[in-house]
């Protein structure tokens, strides 16, 4: 009796290629960001930041926006770095740890996918969602810029700066995903990313500059200044940074501070190295992570 039924025809199931699975997973993850209101919440925060910025610019006018280059250098360059870190925390902070903590990873692990597929799919989703936030922020800035300088005065540097910002985003997300796969508790990933990128790295950068007295090329936040730097009139394109010494006070009480500024090429290299190293390390970790 049992033999009356036959096996379903072979080939009824064609497991998609890994690249296809990555894109499918990306789509589902993006839907999840929208469903879980993370997307809306961060968009609201970016809008608030944009509103404050608009008010500040309107209030101080000439003092802060002498030229369109200075305007974009200051407000886009300074603001987008913050938006990027927020987006990384929102979309990447628990990307991996959350799969363990909420046990949703056990659902995915039953599927015929390589582990890397899960990691990369979630990474791309976080990247796309973050880019949407960056573009929202850019739209607010360009709106303001057009009001004060006219639409024709959108400087070409903005496109280069956007590329640098995308690269920085990828590097920050790489680190965020790495932190997230170090822990099985979501909160740690959030906290570590936020602490390091909002305070930690710039603190380390200061320590390296002031105490060790070398160029802080090994710190990712050193590279982020290039996003605003490209609008400067005497921008350095090269692979080396510059040193600026400034002395405050006179005589024996004079304090000399040293500031390093990364060259654009140097910034690109730093960001690329961070991206490659963190992505490789995170993937390596996730490939070895056990769902116990």
């Amino acid at each position: 009796m049992a033999s009356a039924t036959v096996d379903a025809p072979a080939g009824r199931l064609q497991v998609p290629g890994s690249m296809q699975q990555v894109l499918k997973l990306t789509r589902y993850q993006l839907r999840e960001y929208i469903r879980s209101r993370r997307f809306v919440a961060l968009a609201a925060i970016v809008l608030v930041i944009g509103a404050i910025l608009t008010a500040v610019v309107a209030h101080f006018r000439g003092a802060v926006i002498s030229t369109n280059l200075a305007y974009y250098g200051t407000f886009w360059g300074g603001g987008v770095v913050f938006v990027i870190v927020l987006a990384a925390v929102f979309f990447g902070g628990d990307a991996i740890a959350g799969e363990f903590q909420n046990k949703t990873g056990y659902f995915l692990m039953g599927l015929p996918m390589r582990r890397a597929t899960v990691y990369v799919g979630k990474f791309i989703a976080a990247f796309v969602a973050s880019v949407a936030m960056m573009l929202l922020f850019l739209a607010i800035l360009v709106g303001n810029g057009a009001y004060y300088f006219g639409v024709n005065l959108l400087p070409w540097q903005i496109w280069l700066s956007l590329v640098l910002a995308l690269l920085y985003l990828a590097a920050v997300l790489g680190a965020t995903f790495l932190f997230s796969s170090l822990f099985k508790v979501s909160a740690y990933g959030f906290v570590l990313t936020a602490l390091l990128f909002l305070i930690g790295f710039s603190l380390i950068q200061d320590v390296v500059t002031m105490l060790v007295k070398i160029e802080p090329w090994m710190i990712i936040s050193y590279a982020d200044s290039t996003i605003g730097e490209v609008f400067s009139t005497n921008v350095l394109w090269g692979l080396t940074g510059t040193v600026t010494q400034s002395t405050i006070g006179m005589g024996p009480h004079a304090v000399t501070t040293t500031t390093y500024t990364a060259g654009v090429g140097e910034g690109i290299v730093i960001m690329l190295v961070y991206l490659v190293v963190t992505a490789a390390a995170g993937l390596w970790l996730f490939e070895r992570e056990e769902f116990t």
Partner: protein, 314 residues
């Protein structure tokens, strides 16, 4: 090619603790294998190794001939998996969650809707198809988990205590599903603590304790081997019977090896002679006019074997 699950020298240590100790098991064909063992025996550990959720300290395993450790994607392509009640993204509905599974597994888009409707029907969740999973009870989620293991109609099923958290009707439904799957040439490997469920749906049983395989054989062989040729039936009477009557009239019947009075109206009779012995026994019992209303194969047979085998390890 027949479906198969195979482990060779499969070992898992957590630190110095050995959770699974050189498990060698080959399960093949279309049948249901019950995977039994006390809490902490290593059942979930085995199933997680079989699905590449954790990695073996030694040895390895194959599904349908494909090494799980070398190529999890291909090994799991035709397998349905339910291990340790995973959580589905709470914002999804069953329709969406199953749609995602079907999509990632490569079920043809044209078949998806039908398959999803079918499996949701099988686990009796059709009315909840568009409600958020996050708001569902534990048992309802488990039903969705079962559905997602079935949605692509896999050739091999790996189920870790599938009836956990289900109500009695849900458990019966799971049994019916497993029985159906067996009929349609599927290989099912299922851990369970519910021996009656195993007796009901499984053809073979594997018993492990403290990470070691004690035996793997067909249910009949296991029962025969450990019962020393004895079988057991539970007899229900319409009227109470005194212990003296039991000793005087039931115990001396041919082929009876022992009688235990469970309560005034219930007897557990051990006998020899297999089916023939059982036929003679039942005829003789009825002939005594004790008011026999039912004679049922004792479900305790496997339980007794289970308990005797497990305690031996202590």
């Amino acid at each position: 090619m027949a479906s198969s699950i195979e482990t060779f020298g499969l070992t898992k240590r957590f630190g110095s603790f050995t959770a699974l100790d050189h498990l060698n098991l080959k399960v093949e064909g279309s049948k249901c294998v019950g995977f039994l063992g006390p809490n902490g025996a290593g059942k979930t550990t085995t199933l997680k190794l079989l699905t590449d959720m954790i990695f073996p300290t030694e040895g390895g395993c194959r599904i349908n001939g494909v090494s799980v450790q070398d190529d999890r994607k291909r090994a799991l392509a035709d397998a349905g998996v339910l291990i340790e009640s995973p959580e589905i993204y709470p914002s999804l509905t069953p329709n969406e969650a199953l749609g995602m599974v079907a999509d990632l597994r490569g079920l043809a888009a044209s078949d998806r809707r039908d398959r999803i409707r079918t499996v949701l029907g099988e686990v009796k969740m059709s009315d909840w198809a568009d409600q958020k999973v996050g708001r569902m009870s534990k048992g309802m989620k488990q039903r969705i988990n079962i559905a997602s293991a079935l949605v692509h109609d896999p050739a091999v099923l790996l189920l870790d205590e599938p009836s956990t958290g289900l109500d009695p009707r849900g458990m019966a439904e799971v049994r019916a599903i497993v029985r159906d799957l067996k009929q349609s040439h599927r290989l099912i490997f299922m851990s369970s603590h519910i021996l009656s469920e195993v007796v009901d749906v499984c053809d073979e049983v594997a018993l492990i304790d403290k990470g070691k395989l004690l035996f793997y054989d067909t249910l009949e062989n296991v029962t025969a081997r450990f019962a020393n040729g004895h079988s057991t039936v539970d007899v229900l009477l319409a009227r109470p019977i005194t212990p003296e009557d039991v000793a005087r009239r039931v115990t001396p019947l041919p082929s009876v090896a022992g009688v235990q009075q469970l309560d005034p109206k219930r007897l557990r009779v051990r006998f020899t002679g297999g089916l023939d012995g059982q036929e003679h026994l039942v005829e003789a019992l009825v002939g005594l006019h004790l008011g026999v209303v039912s004679v049922a194969e004792s479900e305790s047979a496997l339980e007794e074997i289970y308990l005797s085998q497990i305690s031996r390890g202590d």
